[in-house]
Symmetry: C2
Subunit: 259 residues, 2 copies
C-alpha cells in the first residue's frame, strides 16, 4: 500500500517524533511505500487566505473562501504547496494523521492543512447537490476506497476520556475529525491509536506502545473500519439530513451515526 | 463591561465582517468597552513553535511545548504578541469568539491563538496538582468570574446539526470549544449564537439575525451560563476524573457534564 502520514509535532526528539520514525520503518519493512508530510519541518502555511491561489480577482471583489477555492482548484491556480498535498492524497491508499491532542483537537498547523488542502471540488462540493441528493460525502467522494486512521497522543489519563470522564469520551472528542474530516470526503476510518498520559512513559511502556502500534500498522489492510452510516444509502432524510425516524429511534448524538 | 471579541474571518466584506461591525457598535452604544482581536488583520502567527519565546535553550535541549510555555510565561520571555493577548484577556470581563465553522471546528488561525495564548501557568497547569486535587480547571482558573460566548456561522442547515442530524448536534460539535477551551480555564460560558445556512441570507433575514444577535448582546450580563459541572465541587472522582457513580448514573458522553 501507499501510506501517507500527515504529521504535526514541532520537536523531532519527542514521543511523537520517535513514534513517527518507528511507524515509517515498520511500514517500509512490511513492503509498503511510506511518505510523510512533516508539517512543521515543511513550515506549512497554516492560515487559509486569499494568497492560496493566483486567481485574478478584481480589486472590488471580495474573497470568498469556498468559491475562490473552487475556482482555483478547477483552473489549476492553487498555490503549489496545496496541489502537492492533493497529489499525495491521490497517491495514497491509506492516510494517517498523527498529532498530539491540543485543546481537544488537532494542532492549528494540521487544521490549516485540512482547510487548505481540502479544496471545494476536491474534498467537498463533490457530486450532485439538490433537494434529492446532498453531494457525494460521508462515505462517498474523492477519497472513497481509501482508508484513514488517527495516531493521537494526549497528556490526560485514559479514564479522563472514558464514557463518563471529564474530557468526554475519546470517540466523541475525535468525532469531528474522524467523521467530519475523514469520513466526509469518503475515507473508511479505522479505529484510532490513542496514547494517554504521555509525560509518564518509561522505556518499558514505550516498548509496549510500539508493539501495539506495530500490530495496528501490520493490519491496516484488514482492520474493520468504524461503521459510520453513509449519507446516501437510505438512513437519512434528504435534504433535512436527519436520521430516518425508524433508524435507532431512541438514539441521538454522535453515537447514532455509527451502525 | 470590557468585552474582547476574538475574530477569525479573512474577508471584512463577509457576513462575519458585517456581524462584527454590528456587534461592536451595539456593545459601544450600550456603554460597554469593546476591543477586537481581528486575527487575520493582525496577521496572527497560527503555529505554536520554539520561536514563541526568547528562552535561552541549549542547542542539545529539545523543545517541549508545555514546559517551554511554562518557563517563558514565568520568566516574561514570551513573544510580545502572546503577552498582549493575555493582557487583553486579563482586561476583559467578557470574551466572544466569533468564527465560521470550518470542518466542524474553529479556523486554524483561531486554534493557533488558543494554543499560543493559553500558556502553561496562565490557562492550564494552574493550582494544586496532586492525586487529591487536579488543578484549578473546569470552572476554576485564571478566567473565573469572566464570561464567554461563541458567535458561529455555518453553511449547513439547522437540521443537519439537530439531535439526529448528520453532522452531530451543535452542542456536541461545540463541546470541545465551549467546555474544553472556555470552561476549562474558568469562563462561565453563555449559550452560543449560531447562524446557519450562511449562503442563503437575504436582507430581510439579515435584519432578523441582527435583532437576535443584538438581544443576546444586550443581555450578556444576565444570561444564564451553560450549567457545566465544576471539576472540584464533588461531582467527580479524583484522580480518575470520572463522574461519581451516583451522579446521573444512566448518562454518559458530553451531555453528562451539564447539570
Amino acid at each position: 500500500m501507499n501510506v501517507l502520514i500527515v504529521y504535526a509535532h514541532p520537536e523531532p526528539q519527542s514521543l511523537n517524533g520517535s513514534l513517527l520514525k518507528f511507524a515509517v520503518k515498520r511500514l517500509e519493512n512490511a513492503g509498503h511505500n511510506a511518505q510523510v508530510s512533516d508539517l512543521y519541518a515543511m513550515r506549512w502555511k497554516a492560515t487559509l487566505d486569499a494568497d492560496d491561489s493566483t486567481l485574478d480577482r478584481p480589486a472590488d471583489q471580495r474573497f470568498d473562501p469556498a468559491l475562490d477555492s473552487k475556482r482555483a482548484f478547477e483552473q489549476g491556480l492553487q498555490r503549489p504547496d496545496i496541489a502537492r498535498e492533493q497529489d499525495k492524497l491521490r497517491w495514497a491508499d491509506m492516510v494517517i494523521l498523527q498529532f498530539p491532542l491540543w485543546w481537544f483537537s488537532m494542532p492549528a498547523i494540521l487544521k490549516g492543512w485540512v482547510e487548505r488542502v481540502y479544496a471545494y471540488g476536491f474534498a467537498y462540493g463533490v457530486g450532485e447537490h439538490s433537494d434529492a441528493r446532498w453531494g457525494d460525502r460521508y462515505g462517498e467522494g474523492a477519497m472513497a476506497g481509501k482508508r484513514a486512521m488517527l495516531i493521537v497522543t494526549t497528556g490526560g489519563w485514559e479514564s479522563h476520556y472514558s464514557a463518563r470522564g471529564i474530557n468526554g469520551p475519546i470517540d466523541d472528542v475525535l468525532f469531528p475529525i474522524q467523521h467530519g474530516v475523514l469520513y466526509y470526503p469518503g475515507f473508511d476510518v479505522l479505529p484510532p491509536v490513542v496514547i494517554y498520559r504521555t509525560s509518564r512513559i518509561d522505556a518499558e511502556h514505550y516498548t509496549t506502545l510500539c508493539d501495539t502500534l506495530g500490530q495496528r500498522l501490520d493490519n491496516l489492510g484488514n482492520t474493520a473500519p468504524i461503521a459510520f452510516r453513509p449519507q446516501n444509502a437510505g438512513d437519512y432524510l434528504i435534504p433535512e439530513l436527519t436520521l430516518r425516524p425508524d433508524i435507532t429511534p431512541a438514539l441521538s448524538g454522535f453515537g447514532a451515526h455509527r451502525k
